[in-house]
Symmetry: C2
Subunit: 478 residues, 2 copies
């Protein structure tokens, strides 16, 4: 029995595979991390391996990639092509090639996930007698609680939970992982990350892009399903989970689920806001409104912006608003997780203009720059005892660092069988339980219009308590 | 009765006055903060006011000072000269000129402080019927507990404590004041500044300079008296005091004295180290040893380096070493107050090389740069979950800021009657009570020799617990 592992990419000729997977695998080749991995591209085209190689050579954009040609050749050499559709009989054709551990990466449209997973198993390929058999799928995991539960039931019919690797690619981002490292590896910060010292958490994923040719998928789905239910809620679990005693996949995922289960029932009317962009100037460029985008229904009620206020009812966060928002065609690209700290006792500085200063903010920024910042108050230089805002800042990486892309990191973790950055089914389920009441409520009414290039609909500000405000999207320091 | 205040600088022709006081006053003129202040230069020379003006014009170094000539002229115009010695009859000659509030700044050798203060009062000038009368003196306030008590008794014979402004010019430094602002104006940091999270405090004032022509004063005094008893212990009070409820001079000074009184008795044999520099290369320049300095006894036992370990027995700091060190002719100039944080629970990162990483440090740096830093652990960019050291840093001032010199700030506070940055007598007394047992012990034996340009005597390392170390003096990030 060979122990050489094989990665089967189903949908190997598609966009996801060519644009993200194969480049990430090539980068792992360059880092010498693929070892003896064999890669099989599987797609319905009747290509020879040579033809597939030519397809990859033409499709993988090597511009600006600092990878020596020899790695590219070594990488190409480990890839075979196998033509076939998603049927039991066609998939059975793979069996002779898989005499060891194997990973099935479904780079397929979400509608066929369940079917493909079933067919692979029915073809006998999920059987682990020759070595592990793993299944990798990517969001969306359903479009609401009900369809997510259905999808899962289908997957579990033939696959055990520990064989399934559900990708939320945000969790592969280094700066998202750094948030956990920062929280748990530094003695000075974790003791103050609780409702005694923090009075608000904000998670923003703002884009300047529109639907960009994805209207076929996006229309009818919207920002709440596309971004909030998965990426933003996942980032929320990283920000609010209790520290695990050990860095172990199940322990970390248990702690994440604990947070998800403790999110208390919210009122969609007061705690959620949706918006849809109209035409506007985005970063100086005139852009059409969402309803004018190609492929979008001119009466579409799809939310291109969603903001929700959650409460995590743990001892640590009880009473603190956790605000999530995400939208397209906003004023600036900004991905950040921010903790806002309470005021110190104000009587101490009652003679100084402290009340106009920014509160302390701890900022984990993923975009446009990658940095950790602490917004603090320091003495205003000069004769008076006045304070001003200063920013303690550390950039995540320097020019000498070799950051890994999310897919590189996730693919390596699949190869190594580390479930930490992948979603366990209960995470998916409880995320849907959080957003499902909003989805139900949003079956009626319509999103609030916001001008493209603005900071989103005005309604997003109604959550906020007196003196609170969303961090501006445009910030000269970013 | 006029309310125009007068500042009388006694010793107006001397080095301190010309090099520090008058330039600071000129800068306050430029900032439009002197209002109707009249300044009288008092010295034993038989100069006219015009001659004194000429002396100032020649002596004040305007190179590189961006002050318009018109301010200089306005400044000169408010200065009169009065010749006389420190005798009651001569000082009485000032009386006709002082028909309102007055400040007497003793820019005189320490040996004559008490006498001058007495004579001023005996000449009737301390009488406050025409307005406040204030006395400004600068360290040293005695050379040990006994002489400090004597000096104070003499001062208090004619002056009330609230008339006396004792300068420790370190407390006028903006970055030292910023330490208090930072501690008390930021919600995220004060809750972790205690022995539950911090396991050591280090205060270093390292100089590359030698005695620089001050051997006449310095020999027989040494680093413990010259630096530790005043500047370093004062910085320690800023670092360890409880937060006052209000920013009020007496409340702040009460809290400082509370810390000083809670320093527990230490053993000079195990908790104090003295050193004396020998010849060496300092910043690449060959320098003679201390005993070869002009004016130094060739058998001098004066300490040019002193390090002490204190314990502040408050609830906040119980059990935590507070390490102070200061020395001349060291490897680099470095003034900093540093909090070292405990380790997070190590089991969490047992598979990562965390144990070789720096602990968290909170650094208030006054020199060579002015900055606040948090040394933290972040994810090492790349595929592995490893941590590395990052520095969250904020520079204290930018090119657009107008920092005030310590003397500017202190002079303005004297004019405004704000005692906050001045030492109350009990602060002086209790500082001496801390160092007096060491001074007594150091009457015997000799300091440990250290090579000029090194980091000081090896003995300074014997305080430190396992795994602890002094922050290096040379740090590329400084």
């Amino acid at each position: 029995m060979s122990s050489q592992p094989t990665l089967v990419v189903l949908g190997a000729s598609g966009d996801l595979a060519v644009r993200l997977l194969f480049p990430a695998l090539l980068s792992l080749e360059f880092r010498e991390r693929l070892e003896d991995l064999k890669i099989i591209g599987y797609a319905r085209q009747e290509w020879s391996t040579d033809e597939f190689h030519e397809h990859l050579r033409a499709a993988i954009d090597m511009d600006g990639v600092d990878i020596d040609q020899k790695y590219f050749e070594r990488f190409i050499d480990r890839i075979e092509f196998h033509g076939g559709d998603i049927s039991v009989s066609a998939l059975k054709g793979l069996e002779p090639e898989l005499d060891g551990p194997a990973i099935f990466y479904l780079a397929l449209p979400p509608g066929v996930f369940a079917d493909a997973a079933e067919k692979i198993a029915q073809a006998g390929l999920a059987d682990q007698t020759k070595g592990y058999r793993r299944l990798v799928i990517e969001k969306p995991f359903g479009t609401d609680l009900e369809t997510a539960l259905e999808l899962n039931e289908q997957l579990h019919r033939y696959w055990r939970e520990d064989q399934i690797f559900r990708i939320d690619h945000f969790l592969g981002k280094e700066t998202v992982q750094n948030m956990l490292v920062f929280r748990f590896a530094n003695r000075f910060i974790e003791p103050v990350l609780n409702s005694g010292h923090v009075d608000e958490i904000q998670i923003t994923v703002a884009e300047t892009l529109g639907v960009e040719g994805r209207s076929h998928y996006y229309d009818g789905i919207g920002a709440l399903r596309d971004m909030v239910q998965n990426h933003l809620i996942q980032m929320m679990t990283f920000a609010t989970m209790e520290p695990p005693a050990l860095w172990e996949a199940e322990m970390i995922r248990d702690h994440k689920v604990e947070v998800l289960k403790s999110v208390h029932a919210m009122n969609p009317d007061t705690d959620a806001v949706r918006g849809q962009y109209s035409a506007g100037l985005v970063e100086g460029v005139p852009r059409v409104g969402y309803r004018q985008e190609p492929g979008v229904e001119p009466t579409s009620r799809t939310d291109t912006f969603a903001a929700v206020q959650l409460h995590v009812d743990t001892w640590r966060w009880e009473g603190i608003p956790v605000l999530l928002r995400s939208g397209k065609r906003l004023a600036a690209k900004a991905h950040e997780v921010v903790f806002r700290f309470r005021e110190p006792p104000t009587s101490l500085f009652r003679h100084t203009p402290l009340e106009h200063a920014e509160p302390n903010w701890l900022v984990f920024r993923m975009s446009p720059s990658e940095a950790t910042e602490l917004v603090v108050r320091t003495k205003q230089p000069g004769l008076e005892l006045e304070t001003r805002e200063s920013v303690l800042r550390a950039d995540y990486a320097t020019a000498d660092d070799h950051e890994a892309s999310a897919y590189e990191s996730l693919l390596l973790d699949v190869l190594e069988g580390d479930h930490t950055p992948f979603l366990r089914f209960d995470e998916v389920e409880w995320s849907w339980r959080i957003v499902d009441p909003i989805l139900k409520a949003w079956e009626h009414g319509a999103p609030e219009e916001y001008v493209g290039g603005s900071d989103g609909p005005a309604g997003q500000h109604r959550f906020l308590g007196p003196g609170h405000y969303w961090r501006p999207l445009l910030n000269p320091a970013k």
